[in-house]
Amino acid sequence: MTGPVTGSGNRQGAIADEAAAWVARLDADGWSADDEAQLERWMAADPRRRGALLHAQACWVALDPPAPRPRATVRRRGLFMAAGGALAASVVGGFLWLAGGTTYRTEIGEIRRVPLADGSTATINSDTQLEVTLASRRREVRINSGEAWFRVAKDPARPFVVEAGQVVVQAVGTAFSVRRRDGGADIIVTEGVVQVWAAQADGYRTSLIAGQSAFFGDNAAVRISDGPPSAVDRALAWRSGAIDLSGQTVAHAVEDFNRYNRRKLVLADPRLAGEQIDGIFRTDDPEGFAKALHDSFGVPLDTSDAAAIRIGRGKNISDVEGTSPLTSLHQHGKETRP
């Protein structure tokens, strides 16, 4: 087929050959803590080495006869994972900021723009808590919950670092948002470049440029999306108090509205969840959004509860059976698309 993949002459090939040598040594008798430390040092010197080792090791273990996986192995693995978690936690401990910052908190529905002492601004979204510490060497923000968009004043001597759980984002002079989620964080870059890494994997950083958005998992898994520029503006429409929907699912929109309002939207008709919807709404107007759903999809609303708006069939399903609601729903859904 094709020629040899790697000539040993190039750098890539040299790394792969070194990795193969490590695998041969790992396979030998008497692997010591000293060997392990040497291997760690070798890997730490070049981020590509870790991948080369994994590749070579996989090639070698692929020759092992497939073993049935007994329960005991799973147990042991559980133990390893638990120990790994404890280790990660202790490493993260090193990243905890010293106390002494300013804490900002917004209520549900509140969006606040805060000027910081260094000339940067933070626009803080609904239901968010964050701490800002402006030290002489570093400007640090820790998002405990929620989301904020930062416009960072240029100061190369003091990097601007945002921590959301295990995810760390660094910028010098740029604008970006960070939203803390369960198991990771969403990052959207509106200007310039930021670097992102997981707190326990400091050596390996990913750069995001203006117009890109990404989800970073606590486990360093990265999902980057390069949508059209308008997608970034839409995702940050909350800064001017708006929710800008373009083909998002109803379920996604409902979740969004519920971030901003105490009066919750409840989807009583699950078939509606996957339908797409377009439009610009005020974050504080879930009623308007519910009415739009009513108009586009012909679904009933129940607004009798002050704490919630139920969308879709309530308890009485008697009148719907004959009219094949599913097909009519889909037709309506299509009509709303341009």
Binding site: M1, G3, P4, V5, T6, N10, Q12, I15, A16, A20, A21, V23, A24, L26, D27, A28, D29, A33, E36, A37, E40, A44, P47, R48, R50, G51, A52, L53, L54, H55, A56, Q57, A58, C59, W60, V61, A62, L63, D64, P65, P66, R77, F80, M81, A83, G84, L87, V91, A198, Q200, A201, G203, Y204, I209, N219, A220, A221, V222, I224, D226
Partner: protein, 199 residues
Amino acid sequence: MAGGTAGGAIDAARRRQTAVWVAREILPHEHRVRAWLRRAGTAPEDSDELIQEAYCRLAMLEAVDHIDSPYAYFFSIVRNLLVRRLKRQRIVPLETIAEIDAYHDDRPSPEQLAAGRLAYGKALDLIARLPERCRRIVQLRKIEGWSQRQIAEHLGTTEKAVEKQVWLGVRFLRQAWSQAEQDADDLMGEHEQRGGRRR
């Protein structure tokens, strides 16, 4: 990163666990990703780099158990890396980036995925292609389950010499998995279909 012996043992166990997972889920299908990169106009050296970088991403994962479809996961890492690389080379017109998704990957069928997990037959085939001395040692190590020390005693040589043959074996296998892979896959298909289709 992590220091201390306890951390080292945990790291070693985690590395091995990820390697076993890669051997089972990714390696048998690596050639599909390479073929896709070729169709998207990527030079072989660049493909090597992208694939190595994707393996780096996998190596950084704390755990892999949560990944539902490993092949799709690996493929999307490579795809994203390619898109980013093209964006960095400003000379590439934007349409090229848009076209990338038009090159469909040769996604493995559920049967092929299952076959990939049973890739042991392929592994034996690869062992058979090793140079003689190397093959002998790899067979004793992997099929008979002897340790490198036992092999050295048996052959009347040093452990270092055995380790060197293992090194040669790993190098050979790495290349074999990424290129000769396609033939092995075809071979396997032929076995399954009793010599029916041939490309």
